[in-house]
């Protein structure tokens, strides 16, 4: 019975994990870049929310949009500084790969630039609010629902439902709207998209900003249930986001659901068996496994398509 309870807990964790992974995978799908500043951007948004809540007494319905706007703006900054090189020119004119070699050289260099931004944002946050614990508007449930021997928290259930709904909604939008088509086309083949008249640079930029805004949504969801922000939040977002996105396939929107479930359930069991360290180790181990298994399929499709 413990097993089922843990699995249930893990499944409920999958909801927020899916949200966290959604932004990262979409960002990769749009721009073929793994944004290492993903967590730091979300943290900046979270700190903003906390500050507005604590210092300016903003209510929760004002704080949450502020968080999302902050993360979206951070995305704009990251895109400008690190990912500005959109390679839309004809394939026959190849610029020499700058720092690293290989088929995905540009992706790797952009990754490097994003960790530089990670550094920046991390320090900015620490300078701004040095205390360890910062309060965040809290909507956690106080009671647990029970179904026979199993218990679950209704707030987590609601968040999971919202997460699944949002993921599916984003997927639907990507598949059926004109803008979604432009985003997918630009991700698959920027040059062909250019020739079809799509505004490639704009689509890439705003698609990425959208992805970062989604990280703000994820942050809101997670923190509203926690009631506080810690300096570890950035790394946490990045790690979970990377794992979920990698398992589901970088760029796959629906894949984050699969990845989130894997991660959530695994962590729940690992924590029960080996404590907090075991849980984190299991998560990193899962990411490693996902990388090793996925490498063959992803190597051919590092064109960063956003797909089902």
């Amino acid at each position: 019975m413990e097993f089922f309870q843990r699995t249930l807990d893990g499944l409920l964790e999958a909801g927020p994990y899916a949200l966290v992974g959604l932004g990262l995978t979409l960002g990769f799908g749009m721009l073929r870049r793994v944004n290492l500043a993903y967590g730091a951007g979300a943290m900046l948004g979270a700190y903003t929310g906390s500050w507005l809540h604590v210092r300016m007494d903003w209510p929760i319905w004002a704080v949450l949009p502020a968080v999302i706007v902050t993360t979206a703006l951070t995305g704009l900054y990251v895109q400008w500084l690190c990912f500005g090189e959109t390679d839309r020119t004809s394939g026959s004119v190849q610029r020499a790969s700058p720092a690293v070699s290989g088929a995905d050289a540009r992706e790797v260099v952009a990754l490097a630039a994003s960790f530089a931004v990670w550094m920046q944002l991390e320090q900015l946050c620490v300078n701004w609010i040095p205390q360890h614990l910062k309060r965040f508007p809290d909507v956690a449930a106080t009671q647990e629902w029970t179904f026979g021997p199993l218990g679950l928290r209704p707030d987590r259930l609601l968040l999971s439902a919202i997460a699944i709904g949002l993921v599916l909604a984003v997927h639907h939008w990507m598949q059926h709207s004109r803008t979604g088509l432009a985003m997918r086309a630009t991700a698959v083949h920027p040059l062909a998209a250019d020739l079809s008249g799509m505004p490639v640079a704009k689509v890439q930029r705003w698609g990425f900003v959208l992805a970062c805004g989604l990280s703000g949504v994820a942050a809101c969801g997670v923190l509203a249930l926690e009631g506080q922000v810690t300096p570890m939040f950035g790394m946490w977002m990045l790690m979970k986001g990377l794992t979920v996105a990698m398992i589901g396939g970088l760029g796959s929107v629906r894949g984050v659901l699969f990845g989130a479930i894997c991660l959530g359930v695994l962590e729940a069991h690992a924590q029960a068996a080996w404590g907090a360290i075991g849980r984190d180790a299991a998560a990193w181990g899962l990411l490693l496994l996902a990388l090793l298994i996925r490498q063959r399929s992803s190597a051919t499709s590092t064109t960063g398509s956003v797909y089902a």
Partner: protein, 246 residues
């Protein structure tokens, strides 16, 4: 309809086009011939707005195309069927067609146009929901052509549509080119396959090392040994049959 004067285009320090002057008449199929490396694709990419020229002018129906973005060029009525097709491999055939119609404001008519393209290319209709990456070379070429047509261009630019395709498929493609011409669409065609081009084009230009070295009708082209000189690069041998693949 299309006037290009003294166009020059460079990749960094490498001049791909030096001094290109040519014109295409409305309603005609105009063909640009030239060996590899002559600059044909560069010219097409410049016309499509992907590359910016360093010198010269491009005028379409009296208006300059210089400095316009690819999207604006599509708005003006030009569409490119690029070399190597460049379909969206992870999108379905239908989505590829819809992508071609991206700039169109009359959304309602797009569905009708898709039907029209599917009528024209029945093989695409069979594969309408298939991913474009799984199509054969010839089918991808048709898809690229249909996609370009979705924007209802007045001038269709085609960059080497026959490359890499089997002769039967090439014949099909050129049959469609003839059809389009009959329907009043002007076409600016870049080709290496002289044989097929002679069958459809009304006027020929020859591009060599970034310059236009010949301009004339099919008859003049067939009579002149300029092709042999261009493609066989000053070889002393007696030229082989003019259907030899160059």
């Amino acid at each position: 309809m299309l006037e290009i004067r003294e166009l020059a285009c460079a990749y960094g320090k490498i001049e791909a086009l030096r001094d290109v002057s040519l014109s295409a008449r409305a309603g005609d199929v105009t063909c640009l011939l030239g060996p590899n490396g002559a600059g044909k694709t560069t010219l097409m990419m410049t016309l499509a707005g992907i590359l910016q020229p360093t010198r010269g002018t491009i005028t379409f129906e009296g208006e300059s195309l210089l400095g316009l973005s690819p999207a604006q060029i599509v708005d003006r009525g030009l569409a490119l069927v690029p070399e190597n097709r460049l379909v969206f491999p992870a999108l379905s055939v239908r989505e590829n067609l819809m992508a071609g119609a991206y700039r169109r404001k009359d959304r309602a008519a797009i569905a009708g146009d898709i039907e029209q393209q599917l009528d024209r290319f029945p093989r695409l209709r069979e594969r309408i929901d298939q991913l474009a990456g799984t199509l054969s070379g010839g089918e991808q070429q048709m898809l690229a052509l249909a996609r370009a047509l979705m924007s209802r261009p007045r001038l269709l630019l085609m960059d080497e549509p026959s490359v890499g395709l089997a002769p039967k498929v090439v014949a099909e493609i050129f049959g469609i080119v003839r059809q389009l011409h009959a329907q009043g669409i002007s076409i600016f065609l870049v080709e290496q396959n002289v044989h097929m081009a002679l069958k459809v084009a009304q006027h020929f230009f020859l591009l060599q090392q970034g310059r236009v070295t010949f301009s004339g009708t099919p008859g003049e082209l067939a009579a002149d040994d300029v092709i042999h000189r261009a493609y066989l690069a000053g070889s002393e041998r007696k030229p082989e049959s003019d259907t030899a693949n160059v």
